[in-house]
């Protein structure tokens, strides 16, 4: 093979790599632009601020208020991360600092299986186990009556679903912390728990933030499992025992009516755009947090 053709091959390979990269970089922009163009018709009729602060949703009458969906999404997401994050941090500490290597080796495939299960399975599990548990055990404990299809059910199902994602990142984070650091702490007389608390967790802080941020982003967009247990009632929830109606559920449930009601498709595209924006914002904020804490160290 001549030098020329080798060089040429090198060039073409490089060319395709760059093209792939550009496509990847363009994807989110194209998505955002597409959604924006599709939601323009409704934005021309009503102001964006009105749409996201109104709480009445009656598409047949042309009333599109997104507040119930946005607040439901926030409730479910934050509650689920609130449940998942401590569990993940404690498990990750145990697996990387205390447990024998064998346990960690055993846990890796388990976590991967949990991460790989289709979300509809979590949804069915939620309907069969979590919903009755809430209506028969949890709610009566607080003196309440509910069908069990609640924000809380959605958050529990979702927390189980995001655990593998957060946990996987956290294990990596804890493992990359240099052993010298913890050894130094132990050698000056700190106990193991003190070392974890003051050295390990401090060093891992940006990683924890980023893992949680990614958990939020995933939780926010999760559709079917949450849809199956959350109750899908258009209202601004005021307690975890209320039903909710998160943004992804809105889009999935009403896909069918898109064609027959004026402005409906535009409204659903706007819902997708809002979802996109919020997920983007969370990614951005968790990145900022990491950069800041890295600067401080």
């Amino acid at each position: 093979m001549s030098l020329l053709s080798r060089k040429f091959r090198d060039k073409t390979a490089l060319f395709w790599m760059v093209i792939s990269l550009v496509i990847l970089l363009l994807m989110p922009i194209l998505l955002a632009v597409g959604l924006y163009l599709k939601s323009l018709p409704i934005l021309h009729e009503q102001s964006f601020f009105d749409l996201i602060t109104e709480s009445e949703w009656k598409p047949m009458q042309g009333k599109f208020g997104f507040l119930p969906f946005i607040t439901s999404s926030l409730w479910v997401t934050f509650l689920s991360v609130l449940i998942a994050a401590p569990v993940c941090i404690l498990t990750a500490i145990y697996l990387t600092q205390y447990a024998r290597k064998k346990v960690l080796a055993f846990m890796h495939p388990v976590i991967d299986i949990l991460a790989g299960l289709p979300s509809v399975i979590y949804g069915v599990w939620g309907v069969l186990i979590v919903v009755p548990f809430i209506s028969k055990t949890v709610a009566p404990f607080f003196g309440l009556q509910t069908s069990g299809y609640t924000i809380l059910a959605g958050a529990i199902v979702l927390s189980i679903m995001v655990i593998p994602f957060i946990l996987n990142i956290l294990i990596e984070v804890f493992r990359t912390i240099p052993e010298e650091l913890t050894e130094a702490s132990l050698s000056v007389g700190a106990t193991k728990w003190e070392t974890i608390k003051y050295v390990l967790l401090k060093k891992a802080y940006p990683g924890i933030i980023s893992a949680t941020g990614l958990g939020v982003a995933r939780a926010f967009g999760e559709t079917i499992a949450v849809l199956m247990v959350v109750g899908n009632v258009v209202q601004v929830p005021t307690s975890v025992f209320d039903s909710g109606y998160p943004l992804p559920a809105l889009i999935a449930n009403n896909y069918g009516e898109m064609l027959s009601i004026p402005r409906y498709d535009s409204a659903l595209m706007l819902a997708a755009l809002i979802l996109f924006g919020i997920v983007l914002l969370f990614n951005f904020l968790s990145r900022m947090a990491i950069i800041r804490s890295e600067k401080n160290q």
Binding site: W57, K58, M60, V127, S147, G148, M228, Y255, M258, L259
Partner: protein, 322 residues
Amino acid sequence: MKTLHFLSLALISATLTLQVSCSNNTTETTDKNKLSGNISISGAFALYPMVVKWAEEFQKLNPDVRIDVSAGGAGKGMTDVLQDMVDVAMISREIKEEEIQKGAWFIAVTKDAVLPVINSSNPVLAEIQKNGITKSQLSTLFTEGKKTTWGKLYNTKDKSNINVFNRSDACGAGEMWAKFFGKKQEDLAGTGVFGDPGIAEAVKNDVNGIGYNNVIYAYDLKSRVLYPGLAIIPIDLNENGVLDPEENFYQNLDSITNAIRTNRYPSPPARELFMVTKGKTFNPIVLAFYNWILTDGQKFIDEGGYVKLTDENIKSQIEKLK
């Protein structure tokens, strides 16, 4: 078994809603008399079991034909067919004017009804079966969204909240149930659950629950009585506060379908079920399937738990196909 049945239905329906149905629209007829090729069908839960049965039998007669049927609600079926993602949609409500303008072309194939269901261990079951429930009481429960108790509804001391279940997906059952009260599906209140099997499961799990199901999801096809755990809340049609013998036809699948056929059960929520294509169809398989359904296929309707159309109606549907 029951749980397994629900599980599989829920799994199928849920996955199908999320994925874009990729269908193979190619149809080839190699031999003049021999049909071969694929068609795909999606839509109403109400029609799903019937069309699956029809498809099975039709494929026995035409071994080279493949018919893929998936359930996801009438709304999904309509969207799919108008966007050319499937060949035929199953629709369990009236076809809207906007949809006809976009090309929806339909024939009626059978009838069924939406029934109000409750848990068989309901705290005031005895009173319910004695008195029934009026349309206005149902309307209050399903459209006003106010919290009330079973005790208040039946003048007993029971303090359990009534948990109202509603469909979360765009569906014919919801649309017809709302139409019963002169409303739209978006006006219905209550906890939204996905799919017909979803509502049946929710009511079975909740002694205080009330929901609505298509006939075929309330009665078991094999035993022809209600699914264990479910009961019907009978409608007091003449509103005299008592369930009269002529209003009481919910004993089994055959008595209810008989009541629908003879219009003793109100319409809506009883209604015709439709198959929809985009524009008048010239697809040979779809045409053959339609013709077969309206003739030989009719013999599976009783067994399938549905209600036959009147003879004149069937004639006019066949006329439409020509």
